[in-house]
Symmetry: C2
Subunit: 209 residues, 2 copies
DNA sequence: CTCCAAATCTAGACAATGTAAAGATTGTAG
DNA sequence: CTACAATCTTTACATTGTCTAGATTTGGAG
């Protein structure tokens, strides 16, 4: 069905949503500017009024991924305001869960399309805020004495935990973990165990929710 | 310069090497079947005698990545035959270093192109052997008492360490770690710290080599 | 050695894609 | 109301993945 108005009205956002939908239905390989334009009901060159090139659409989709992760973090922080350890546990699981629920959206979010520090300001912004949230949670855990400092710089601790979660998420998404393990051990248990090994914290499965 | 013989002689391998070279020079986005064919000095359809489609060339390149990582592991194992802890430390760093030296080769190796378990037998083979090596090193560390078992299933321990290294490698490759940290802390220190946090092992920087 | 089938390579074609250019339509600031 | 800027369409072109038909070469059966 063709549009009534010549102008779409909200094309930029429609293209981002179309892109996310394509990722969900057809995966990374199915994403194209023209297909997104078709879904939004505009001509194949219309996107160029809003995105300089395909990379910029991808950057916008990646920003949206970071934003969604950030929202989940914020939700958890207000849910357990005075329990930083639970924030850490639940936040970690929420992060991984986003990856499992929207695998290709997650992958594109961390696909490393953004090299230039100056372009894609929104992406940089959200990405840094996510890192900042993790830093804060870890700082609070340390202050509360529920997370070992152990002479480890807290920045290095944050980066290590993030790296761990990121790596496991990708390996799970891409089915690269030993099939033996996958059959006997649900993702949640893998994350729980990994977190305990890394941070030596006393958490249980319930605290991931 | 055109070939002398009608038949290339070793086209399959030449295409793989061409692909790896393209990855090094132009990155993931620059890789195309036709470009690889051009480099090998054959027509654009010649690759189809050796690879059913582009995915199969990618799978072959990914297999090569796994093979190179495996070779590094083996080298380290014969270098420190009776020091499993050092095998773990040096192996971990060798893994990350491969990612830093050949970022896009590393990325394509773990890009998750292989979904079907039955196709791409070579990839599955190498991938499993890499996992097996890590398992063995960890088992030896445990037996030698230089790595805490701590009630953690050894498969989960292996997967966690792998996830950690994989995640950190990607974040470093894609420059997604806080720029503040990058400026003050070389990759080697990041890996060393992460390993110590995860496995609570007593290793120093020298042992990574 | 001969000859044929299989393996390998070329040439040509097609659809999909990213993207540039030129022009049409619409919203809006003055 | 009008001129300008933003938005959108149409047309066009190069690149790419992949298919088909045919040419060349190789290896092995007889």
């Amino acid at each position: 069905m063709p549009r009534k108005t010549y102008h779409h009205g909200n094309l930029k956002n429609a293209l981002i949503q179309a892109g996310i939908a394509i990722l969900a239905e057809e995966g990374l390989g199915g994403l194209s500017l023209r297909k997104a334009a078709r879904r939004a009901g505009v001509s194949h060159a219309a996107p160029y009024a809003h995105f300089a090139d395909k990379q910029n659409l991808i950057a916008a989709i990646a920003s949206d991924g970071h934003k969604k992760i950030l929202e989940r973090f914020e939700t958890i922080r207000v849910k357990y305001p005075d329990n930083p350890l639970r924030q850490l546990a639940a936040g970690a699981w929420a992060y991984v869960k986003f990856g499992l629920q929207a695998p290709d959206h997650y992958r594109i979010t961390f696909s490393g399309v953004i090299q230039d520090e100056h372009s894609h300001a929104e992406f940089i912004e959200y990405s840094q805020r996510n890192m900042q949230v993790l830093r804060e949670i870890i700082a609070q855990c340390r202050s509360a004495g529920v997370l070992d400092a152990d002479g480890v710089d807290s920045e290095l601790q944050a980066v290590s935990i993030w790296g761990l979660l990121h790596g496991l998420t990708l390996l799970m998404i891409q089915k690269q973990l030993p099939s033996q393990l996958i059959k006997t051990c649900p993702p949640k248990d893998i994350v729980l165990s990994a977190l305990q090994q890394m941070a030596r914290i006393s958490i249980n499965k319930r605290m991931l929710d």
